[in-house]
Symmetry: C2
Subunit: 153 residues, 2 copies
DNA sequence: CTAGGTGCTAGACCGAGGTCTAGGTCAACG
DNA sequence: CGTTGACCTAGACCTCGGTCTAGCACCTAG
């Protein structure tokens, strides 16, 4: 019971953030609703606050900067009427995510290529180094086995 | 012609890194082969160096820290014989990438949900705020329209 | 009453990764 | 010849996102 009304420590546990970070987030205006305080000034988080914070964690993990979360929080704090702005902000971040996904997949491809070539190299009692320029045979020679997999334009 | 032998400015252009950053990377030992210098001490990058740097950019974009790139560079610099270590390092980063992909998709899902609900809200000449606790009806009330989509445990 | 645990604020500190500046060298151009 | 532009080094500086400390206030248990 009393699932509404968590202390900062409890919130830290269930969000994975440190209490320091929670206070930081609050100072930076990342919270979409003011945190209540109990009689002696201690923070009391509602279940809604915690859900918001869990979302913040996801946003952060996806690379959204604190300032952007702050903007979103402010819009939500201001209440109904600015839904279009929120939507734009979200769509914007969505684009960032798509971009990052692309970069990750790109790097994954690179790595998978390398991994495959090293595996093959190792299991074959490899001779040449699959990721090395040939040891400077001549001053200006490009021996064709460079970092490979990159596709020279 | 003379595609081997680029100045730092040229390399900056084709890697997207700044000349400052290129020098930083070199200082930090991210380069897998020593950069040559011309008669007056200026850097001369080979095509191989550039390809390596392009890979570095991908690694960075996927969240690999400079120190890790430095380790990889050192292994490559040391030449054949440590392929197993390189492989391990790559596999390790691969795991990081997979993890980040998961986080990104997770956040994407969250955002898509929000976007959808806002779109619907807007096109319906929305009444209630789809991302707001009800305006504190009573001290301890949870009205069931919280940040939504998060799935309370 | 005292100790331990948790919380509070304000503000210092930190590491990562760049970015910029000062002061100098060099080569080419008009 | 002087100027311009690209480059050099060493080192200062900056932002971001936390993290930690000092010094104090509570509350509860022994």
């Amino acid at each position: 019971m009393a699932d509404s009304g968590l202390s900062i420590g409890q919130v830290a546990q269930r969000t994975g953030l440190s209490v320091h970070t929670l206070r930081l987030y609050e100072r930076e205006g990342l919270l979409a609703s003011e945190v209540r305080r109990d009689g002696s000034g201690r923070r009391v988080y509602s279940a809604w606050d915690v859900e918001w914070l869990v979302n913040c964690v996801k946003f952060r993990a996806s690379g959204m900067p604190l300032s952007t979360i702050g903007q979103l929080a402010q819009l939500v704090r201001e209440g109904s009427g600015n839904e279009a702005e929120r939507l734009e902000l979200l769509r914007d971040h969505r684009r960032h995510i798509i971009e990052r996904l692309k970069q990750l997949r790109d790097c994954l491809e690179l790595i998978d290529g390398k991994v495959a070539s090293y595996e093959q190299h190792l299991s074959a009692g490899g001779s040449g180094d699959p990721w090395q320029q040939q040891p400077r045979p001549a001053p200006e020679e490009h021996t064709g086995c460079g970092p490979s997999l990159v596709g020279r334009t």
